[in-house]
């Protein structure tokens, strides 16, 4: 029985010997020889040269031998395509054998031979096997279609295999059905056309769900995964699917349970909120998820990564179960770390005491990574639950007393964050921290400590002394520490100018002259310049109030979370990355479509006529961009070129970002710092004279100049408030709204623009009549946005025949509101001495966006969550701009950027705009990592969905290149 003997061959010319044995007359001997060949193959020896001899043994009625020869062929087919072709007849013959086991074996093996010339031979046998009388053969053939598709998708389509496969979905045998579902799902992943061709309808899904009970555990997973891809028509269908999926939660196989959870997490969203069943579904999820934590550790890990996603979407599911995430002594470390993560997500006022006592326990364990994460978690608790902050700080103090190096370092880092959240509180910890300076050898911990010293310099007696010891070793520090040291010394200097003058001079010298790091150098120059030209501004910048750090630093973006939840149980859900970021690009990103949502967000038919306007607008805008001189009226005098440059690039949010650069505190700000930092870097290069004045004078300035007044010419803060026309501002060309024929000789063209925070209606009146026209008056009808003329048309003299006049009319919002269809329709009446003319024009949406439409990231996140998912609409817009270009264009039109994140090569821009009537639109722009950029995906959310299509159109026009 022991096959081990086949591995022991010591003789030299073994290949030759094997060849002789393979040619033996005796069947037993041949079989022994084939086993030896396979054994050699197993240990990695190349036995490919025996191919013809092994293939000769293929015609045998011994099943075991046949399987071995097939296996051999499988392994060497690629390297011996010609010889493989020789064996194809046997495969074809075997696929019609009397024994179903052999028929299946033949078709199974043939499908795995990835040689082009074999493929054409497989079609006929496969067709027969798909209709075989034996279910064992049919289930094997179903998978074979997927194999064929993998090699040659067009063949599968041309030969009608897709239809045959679909027919098998109605097979009486459950395993055939399950394998067909698996094959169809795989094929549908390959291309959008295949996805369309293999789409399942509700009736089929229903049948599949009914077949669930009879399938093997694996078949159940195949079916549930396919069901999770289905898009139901309405809440009714969704509920009925849920009802039939719920019993699967009681299955013993963890994969079945997770796939059922995936379906339920998708479909519960579609059940109306007022339905009792919705809560019932959610309530059923917790127990099976908890049970998964008793499975094998690898499955626990998968479950925990998925629970991490689920609690981000619906924390209430696990709220009561926090104890199951308490760490056990013998959990593998990767399980411990995941549990800790979820624990923190579920921490709240109610359970903080328990959580904290657990965390304290963990902090005394031995595993360094785990301990670090636990200490960090204590800091997170402090920031998350205000009432526990004091208790957390005390716990951290206790931990610092342990003097264990990595515990102290981690504690310093989180205490910095706590100071960011609760400035000027818990200062009693500063003293013990200072006693542990020697323990800090990691850059982040050192940087954090230096930040604390800079921030609380006036409360630490020997702060200057401490910083100067750090400065002594400046060149050995990492960049992170150097940058922080620079900032902290400047901070301290601004607070105590007299005794730190030498120190600041030294550190500025080190940063600007001794360092070859551009970031450090540029920051050094900026400080230097700032300190020497305008100390008050320096104080305002460096000691500015810092934005609050947010509680949840590592929440996934809503869109990303939704995408990942659709991937529960797959690798994607474990990596927390979308599939296209870690697999080959062959599989397209499945766009999350939701017909129920689409129905709500679809453009109402009345609005659709507006579409016809869009292409026109687009083409005209692009012309504008090409000839900017026509539309831009430069208002900034030429000698102030610098100011002009600044206002073009430094739109307000970026200045904000720039200010953050001066102060690196919370970890949540990093993305902003990046962009701001670059920008300031450029700036430094442009405007600063390399010859730097001495700082002594500055010191006096700081002491003498009263706060708030300054006569220094360069005022960085007021610069961006001067109104400057931006070339990116979208101004549509005037359109003739009243042709001369209708207006009794008066032709009116109109466009709208936004200037100085007001809307202006720009009109051109052309007198094509024979008489002069005078006594113009204008009135707006009631409209959706309450627009009304703020004054009258400023036409003093009569308009002579064949002359035209351009007038600008300020518009305010004092009219009564009446909802128009489309929303932006505006009826206007113009009166002259002769007659009154009524015409209709359409106000472009973007002029309705007000200047105060910017949100901070935290408010944005909350607002996004508050708007129901049903109010989301998705649209693809063609553009070749990169993120900076997009932001510049949108911000020029009052669609403001909240933050930029880059995840897995994708850039996500979060934008907001506010209508004059306080209606907010939140959007997320996804720029894929493929170059060149050709289009971006925009999701918009608003409480009032009617405005969204119009906003889309505006954005499209803005981004047209």
């Amino acid at each position: 029985m022991a096959d081990a003997k086949y591995f022991t061959t010591t003789k030299k010319g073994e290949i030759a010997e094997l060849r002789i044995e393979l040619r033996s007359d005796r069947r037993e001997r041949r079989k022994e020889a084939v086993k030896k060949v396979i054994a050699s193959m197993t240990v990695g020896k190349d036995v490919g040269s025996l191919f013809p001899d092994v293939v000769n043994c293929i015609q045998t009625d011994n099943l075991e031998l046949k399987k071995l020869v097939y296996l051999y062929v499988l392994n060497y087919a690629k390297s011996q395509p010609d010889l493989t072709l020789m064996s194809v007849n046997t495969f074809v013959r075997d696929s019609a054998d009397l024994n179903p086991l052999i028929r299946a074996l033949a078709i199974r093996t043939m499908g795995c031979i990835r040689v082009d010339r074999i493929i054409e031979h497989i079609c006929e046998p496969l067709r027969k096997c798909l209709k075989d009388e034996d279910p064992y053969v049919r289930k094997t053939a179903a998978i074979c279609v997927a194999k064929l598709n993998d090699m040659n998708p067009s063949l599968v389509e041309d030969q009608g295999f897709l239809d045959l496969l679909k027919d098998l979905l109605a097979d009486p045998n459950p395993m055939v059905v399950a394998n067909s579902v698996a094959a169809l799902s795989e094929i549908s992943d390959c291309s959008p056309t295949a996805a369309e061709a293999t789409k399942l309808d509700y009736a089929t899904i229903s049948k599949l769900l009914a077949a669930l009970n009879e399938c093997t555990e694996w078949g159940q997973v195949f079916i549930l995964d396919a069901v999770a891809q289905f898009e139901p028509q309405d809440g009714q269908e969704a509920q009925s699917i849920c009802e039939r999926v719920v019993p699967r939660l009681a299955h013993g196989n963890a994969a079945v349970v997770l796939s059922a959870v995936k379906c339920l997490m998708k479909y519960f969203e579609l059940i109306p909120d007022d339905s009792e069943y919705k809560d019932a579904v959610l309530n059923k999820l917790a127990p099976p998820l908890v049970t998964l934590l008793s499975a094998e550790p690898e499955l626990q890990y998968v479950a925990l990564r998925n629970i991490n996603l689920i609690v981000q979407r619906k924390p209430e599911i696990m709220k009561q179960e926090i104890k199951v995430f308490f760490v056990k002594y013998n959990d593998p470390i990767y399980v411990k770390l995941e549990k800790l993560d979820i624990m923190i997500r579920l921490t709240s006022v109610e359970n903080i005491v328990q959580v904290l006592s657990e965390l304290k326990e963990y902090a005394s364990e031995v595993d360094v990574d785990f301990v670090r994460k636990s200490v960090r978690a204590i800091g997170r608790c402090a920031i998350k639950v205000d009432s526990s902050a004091e208790r957390c700080v005390r716990t951290l103090l206790d931990l610092i007393q342990t003097k264990v190096s990595y515990v102290v370092q981690e504690a310093v880092i989180v205490i910095r964050d706590i100071f960011r959240k609760y400035p000027n509180q818990y200062e009693e910890v500063i003293d013990p921290l200072c006693k542990n300076l020697d323990n800090l050898d990691e850059p982040e911990a050192r940087a954090s400590m230096i930040w604390i010293i800079g921030e609380y310099g006036e409360r630490i007696d020997n702060s200057a002394e401490i910083l100067s010891t750090f400065v002594d070793g400046f060149q050995e520090e990492s960049t992170q520490v150097q940058l922080q040291l620079l900032t902290s010394v400047v901070k301290l200097f601004l607070k105590h100018p007299t005794d730190t003058q030498d120190l600041v001079q030294k550190v500025l010298n080190l940063a600007t002259q001794e360092s070859d790091n551009p970031d450090l150098r540029d920051r050094g120059y900026i400080y230097w310049r700032l300190l020497s030209t305008d100390p008050v501004a320096a104080k305002n910048v460096v000691l500015a109030e810092k934005p609050l750090i947010s509680e949840e630093t590592d929440l996934l973006e809503p869109a990303m979370l939704r995408e990942l939840l659709a991937q529960i149980a797959t690798l994607s859900s474990v990596y927390h990355k979308p599939p296209n970021s870690f697999i080959d690009g062959r599989v397209p990103l499945r766009q999350l479509k939701n017909p129920v949502l689409e129905e709500i967000t679809a453009v109402p038919p009345e609005l659709q006529n507006e579409d016809s306007l869009v292409p026109e607008t687009e083409s005209q805008t692009s012309e504008d961009v090409q000839n900017p001189s026509e539309t831009i009226t430069p208002q900034v005098p030429e000698d102030n070129l610098l100011g002009d440059l600044l206002s073009l690039d430094l739109s307000s949010p970026l200045v904000l970002g720039g200010m953050n650069t001066f102060d690196i505190g919370g970890s949540s700000q990093r993305t902003m710092i990046q962009s701001g930092g670059d920008l300031l870097g450029d700036l430094g290069g442009i405007m600063f004279d390399p010859v730097l004045p001495n700082l002594t004078q500055t010191t006096q300035n700081i002491q003498n100049v009263p706060m708030g007044t300054t006569d220094v010419g360069f005022d960085i803060f007021n610069q961006y408030s001067t109104p400057v026309l931006n070339p990116f501002q979208l101004i549509l060309p005037k359109q003739v709204v009243l042709p001369a024929a209708k207006g009794k000789g008066l032709e009116v063209s109109v466009t709208f623009a936004r200037r100085n925070k007001d809307i202006y209606m720009d009109l051109t009146l052309f007198n094509k009549a024979l008489l002069p026209l005078k006594e113009f008056a204008i009135k707006f009808n009631k409209n959706s946005f309450a627009l009304a003329p703020a004054g009258q048309l400023n036409i003093v003299t009569a308009l002579q025949p064949n002359k035209s006049i351009d007038v600008s009319l300020a518009v305010n919002n004092t009219n009564p509101v009446e909802k128009m269809e489309p929303l932006n329709k505006l009826d206007v009446a113009i009166k002259t001495e002769i007659a009154t003319h009524i015409f209709t024009c359409f106000v472009p949406y973007h002029v309705l966006f007000s200047e105060d439409g910017k949100l901070d990231p935290k408010t944005y996140l909350e607002a996004w969550k508050q708007i129901p998912d049903a109010n989301e609409s998705v649209c693809t817009i063609d553009t070749s701009l990169d993120s900076q270009g997009i932001i510049a264009r949108l911000e020029a039109n009052n669609i403001f950027n909240t933050t930029v994140k880059s995840i897995e090569g994708q850039e996500l821009l979060y934008m907001t705009n506010k209508f004059m009537n306080n209606l907010w639109v939140l959007s997320e722009i996804k720029i894929s990592n493929q170059f060149p950029v050709t289009s971006v995906l925009i999701s918009m959310k608003s409480r009032t969905m009617e405005v969204v299509p119009g906003v889309f159109d505006s954005v499209r026009a803005m981004l047209a290149t």
Binding site: T42, L101, R108, V290, V324, P332, V366, S572
Partner: protein, 422 residues
């Protein structure tokens, strides 16, 4: 879903046997695996998933072997892990031991199994009982080649037809494991009962079985007195149980596989007091001395008895000559476990047994602190369930109408039973 291939490697990462299912990976890709896995282990994380370029390796370790699944797609990783464990089970059932030797000894069979268990990366038939019907260890010398048994693809894919027994019997074991986490002051942080109902079926033909438990939800549904009912928080069934039927009226009905299997498992998180509680008091007369008094207290019914109680009391690994005494049971010092192992063969409910322990520590303390291991307890209490679950009936119906006897046993044992020490 779908795996590109399965590899079995030894601890050094040398492939012992492998099967490629999709032909979409380089043959030598597996060479990258071991360094990645070791790196992850060395970093102290040891995640069961590692990646190389676009390849994902998902693996489990068993008996000095790595069972590795490779994929290049966004595979269903829950399937991969359940499948790898199933694979391990299947091999163990076939060759009793799964280790390097048994793989070499059965490589032909393993190739056959790998071919049958999975196709193109999709798991197929994994029921060992059915596989044994047509993939047999001895080679077939018979003229009649084996055919796929109908059960391979049937709705009842776990039981073959035509089984015969002279004496029809069914043995039912209710085993409850108690998971407990208690802190040093005696507060129960977490308690959980994991129950399992195991069946050994010796029944002829295709019998229909129905199991009745004192399930609280069912009592409520049928309007019975719910006092005696037990609320099962989460129930998991073997695939033979009709889940939709259970969902409708909580009836557990099924056609069982032949022989032994786990019919169902359940979980309860009702607060449980420690069945065996270890009270510890520590005295440190000097920096390098420690004296402990432990009391093991049986907090269960007086008429029950816990058997084979084994208490592991951790001592520091650098403890010098631990001295201990106990009037009941046998205690031994196990330096390899850094613990005192205290075994009490029979421990009646309500009793209290002490253990005195004294040891010295080196006067110089080690640099790195040691993990504070918890006290762990092992035990078995027959004829007793912590949850109070009871089998009310097990009905056996077969069309031939034979009488079969069900036998029921109950046992409570420790699960993950930890008492934190200070």
């Amino acid at each position: 879903m779908s795996l590109s291939g399965i590899y079995i490697l030894d601890l050094k990462g040398k492939p012992l046997i492998s099967r490629s299912y999709r032909g979409d990976t380089e043959t030598n890709i597996i060479d990258k695996f071991i360094s990645l896995a070791l790196e992850s282990e060395e970093e102290g994380i040891g995640q069961p998933i590692v990646t190389h370029l676009k390849h994902t390796f998902a693996y489990i370790k068993y008996n000095n072997l790595y069972l590795v699944g490779v994929t290049r797609r966004n595979a269903n990783v829950a399937i991969i892990f359940t499948f790898l464990h199933k694979l391990r089970e299947c091999f163990v059932e076939y060759f009793h031991e799964l280790e390097e030797e048994s793989i070499k000894d059965n490589f032909v069979l393993i190739y056959e199994l790998l071919d049958e268990l999975m196709d193109f990366g999709y798991p197929q038939t994994t029921e060992t009982k059915i596989l044994k019907e047509f993939i047999t260890q001895e080679s077939h010398k018979l003229v009649i080649a084996p055919r796929p048994p109908p059960a391979v693809t049937n709705a009842v894919s776990w039981r073959k037809e035509g089984i015969k027994y002279r004496k029809n019997e069914c043995f039912l074991d209710v085993v409850e494991s108690l998971n407990l986490l208690v802190n040093a002051s005696g507060t129960v942080l977490r308690s959980e009962i994991l129950g399992s109902i195991k069946l050994k079926v010796h029944l002829t033909g295709m019998p229909e079985l129905r199991l009745g438990l004192n399930d609280k939800v069912m009592f409520e549904n049928t309007g019975r007195n719910t006092n005696k009912g037990v609320e099962l928080e989460d129930v998991k069934f073997h695939q033979c149980v009709r889940l939709s039927r259970f969902d409708v009226d909580r009836t557990i009905s099924f056609i069982p596989p032949d022989g032994e299997f786990e019919l169902m498992s359940y979980r309860l998180t009702t607060p449980v007091k420690p069945i065996i509680w270890i009270e510890t008091s520590v005295e440190r007369p000097g920096r390098s001395k420690a004296e402990l008094l432990l009391k093991a207290i049986g907090q269960f019914k007086k008429k029950s008895t816990a058997n084979n109680v084994e208490i592991l009391v951790p001592v520091p690994s650098d403890a010098i000559s631990p001295k201990f005494s106990c009037p009941y049971g046998i205690a031994t010092y196990r330096p390899d476990l850094s613990a005192i192992r205290w075994i009490i063969k029979s421990f009646p409910g309500g009793k209290e047994y002490p253990l005195y322990l004294r040891y010295n520590l080196p006067s110089i303390q080690a640099e790195d602190t040691e993990a504070k291991a918890p006290i762990t307890v092992k035990f078995e209490i027959p004829y007793f369930t912590t949850s109070g679950i009871q089998v009310r009936y097990l009905k056996i119906m077969e069309k031939s109408g034979y009488q079969a006897l069900p036998w029921v046993r109950y046992i409570t044992q420790n699960g993950d039973y930890q008492i934190r020490s200070n």
